[in-house]
């Protein structure tokens, strides 16, 4: 990979550049956890957010954290950051597992210096644009869903106060996400925060008598509880039923991806599968379902972000378990609540490369999307080809590294934009962890997985050199003018193992 990274980045320090996916240098110990205790009769319930922030002793320069299970319906991060601003605090680092368009009010706080640093796994919308335009004082750190708990557990990312949106809570600080008006299902991305932050504040709009059931995050991790009128907008929290694409090209690609799973010998009893929640990824699940029914195969588990489609497959007995880190729709929330085989998992359990074996290591097949993929199979899901930040790894590079077979499914062009390119604008996922590319212009197999090719050809799949596909793409679209970024580094992309795999430079205004 010919990325030239600076050896030192202002505010971040020495850069450890990416070497290879499983290059791990584990510390001998995890980070220390804070000790505090609560005596009988102690009251965790505080009257409002401001009081809770005061009690937490948050100072200028501190770090606050949030989970993103309320997605684009989340009111909590805005609410908390307004209070922090009102208290006159500044130079705050926001460590949010993801940031959405609804968080637009944070842009003013970035301008005014209340927020000067951001750690996140995915961001889209006005905050992402502000970062790309260089408004944030320090470079943002973009991790993966597995990299974030690694950073927290090893003390790389130190959290002063974790603000945990809790759809249901009790006075003991026990919380879950499956009940209440703002139910979002799994709370998997908040678990490490609750364990390692100095102070943990649960924010709920559904306080019910002690003890609640189930308990996702125990009150033994939680210092304070605050009740607010509303955590979020249910319409933004659960996006309704995600539909399988009707686009004929998308369906063709999904069918091909399913054949590739078959060709790789993985379409068999005990199969485990993860797909994204987009319509095209879901279409792969639909074709896999057909094949599994036809061949009378039962899979072992489905992983990751869960939609109603996987819930249906669980009910049909096509999977034994769902390991759920995040619910995308109401069906998933209800299933997590009611079905004992639908299991809630935390981000570390899901994807942390530096624990004793995350779930991604047991994954057979991962269906991935791509904003760009280059002729070395590197994938970008972080920026557009214009350099604008509009995503992030999420679980992309975790699942690519963990799974036995990672398949990128995408059209070769999107509108006029080439997707299969010479060189990606930003590397999110290194090519060494990507096995197969499926496009309408043909299928490309990573030379590292050459052994797959004969089986795929036998199934009638058109296997081509990725360089030929890319050349054909450029013949169709024309060669785009490459993004010419400014000098200043506005964000770094940290690979799941903690090494820096790329930097994002300023987008001109």
């Amino acid at each position: 990979m010919k990325r030239i990274l600076p050896s030192y980045i202002e505010h971040l320090g020495e850069v450890t550049p990416f070497t290879y996916a499983w290059d791990m240098t584990p510390p001998t110990h995890l980070a220390p956890r804070y000790c505090s205790f609560s005596k009988p009769g102690n009251n965790k319930l505080l009257p409002n957010l401001r009081e809770a922030i005061r009690q937490s002793d948050l100072r200028d320069g501190g770090t606050v954290s949030f989970h993103h299970h309320l997605r684009n319906g989340d009111y909590v991060m805005n609410m908390v950051m307004q209070e922090i601003a009102a208290l006159g605090l500044k130079d705050i680092r926001v460590a949010a597992s993801s940031i959405f368009p609804i968080h637009a009010p944070l842009v003013d706080l970035i301008r005014s210096g209340v927020i000067t640093a951001i750690d996140t796994n995915y961001m889209v919308g006005p905050v992402a644009e502000a970062v790309a335009h260089g408004l944030l004082h320090k470079p943002a750190v973009m991790r993966s869903h597995g990299g974030r708990p690694r950073a927290i557990e090893t003390g790389v990312l130190k959290i002063d106060v974790a603000f945990i949106a809790a759809p249901t809570a009790d006075v003991g600080g026990n919380i879950n996400g499956v009940h209440g008006p703002s139910a979002c299902g799994s709370l998997g991305y908040a678990v490490a925060d609750s364990q390692y932050a100095k102070t943990v504040i649960a924010i709920t709009d559904n306080l019910i008598p002690f003890p609640i059931a189930p308990i996702s995050i125990p009150g033994t991790n939680v210092d304070y509880v605050v009740v607010v009128s509303k955590l979020g907008d249910p319409k933004g929290i659960i996006s309704g039923t995600t539909r399988i694409t009707k686009d004929p090209l998308g369906l063709m690609l999904a069918e091909t991806a399913t054949k590739i799973v078959q060709g790789a010998g993985l379409l068999k009893e005990g199969l485990s599968l993860q797909t994204g929640a987009g319509g095209a990824s879901l279409a792969v699940a639909a074709f896999m379902r057909q094949e599994m029914i036809k061949r009378k195969i039962q899979g072992s588990f489905a992983l990751g972000g869960v939609t109603g489609y996987f819930v249906q497959m669980l009910k049909e007995g096509l999977f034994q378990r769902i390991l759920d880190i995040q619910c995308f729709d109401l069906d998933a929330v209800e299933s997590l609540r009611d079905n004992p085989n639908h299991i809630e998992g935390c981000a570390s359990f899901y994807a942390n490369p530096l624990n004793k074996g995350a779930a991604v290591n047991y994954l057979d097949v991962m269906i991935l999307g791509a904003t760009e993929i280059d002729t070395n199979f590197n994938v970008n899901v972080t920026t557009g080809s214009d350099g604008m930040i509009m995503g992030g790894s999420g679980g992309h590079n975790d699942t690519a590294a963990g799974s036995k077979l990672s398949i990128v499914v995408t059209t070769a062009t999107r509108g006029r934009l080439p997707i299969v390119v010479d060189e990606v604008t930003t590397i999110t996922t290194p090519g060494e962890t990507v096995d197969v590319l499926v496009t309408e212009l043909g299928v490309a197999v990573n030379p590292r997985r050459k052994e797959l090719e004969p089986a795929l050809r036998n199934l009638g799949i058109k296997v081509r050199d990725i360089n030929d596909i890319s050349a054909e793409v450029y013949r169709r679209t024309g060669k785009p003018k490459p993004f010419s970024p400014g000098k200043r580094i506005v964000a770094v992309v940290e690979y799941r193992n903690g090494q820096i795999i790329d930097v994002i430079r300023e987008q001109g205004r």
Binding site: S385, D386, R414, G415, R416, L417, R476, T477, G478, P480, K481, F483
Partner: protein
């Protein structure tokens, strides 16, 4: 030929809406708005200019609203708009 405003194409994905306002003199004024302006803005202008040169159109305002059209579609829409504006003859006249 009767000269009037000519418009062709659409704002659907992969298409382009081109409007031609003929003028008696004053040269060419090409206005481009594209969802891929940063990547392909210059290329779109080249296609428009070449097509205008091929058809000997020297005085017109050309308004281009691009939704990611390939070159062939840009050229086809421009030729149709020019035809509808009365600046070039119909399809047979290449």
């Amino acid at each position: 030929m009767e000269v009037k405003i000519g418009r062709a194409g659409s704002l659907e994905s992969c298409d382009v809406l081109i409007t031609v306002f003929p003028q008696a003199a004053g040269g060419l004024d090409i206005r481009i708005a594209s969802i891929v302006e940063q990547q392909f803005g210059e290329q779109i202008r080249v296609v428009i200019e070449n097509t205008l040169a091929e058809t000997s159109v020297h005085d017109a305002v050309i308004e281009v609203r691009d939704r990611g059209a390939f070159d062939y579609a840009i050229k086809a829409r421009l030729l149709t708009a020019l035809g509808r504006a009365g600046l070039v003859k119909g399809a047979r006249n290449e």
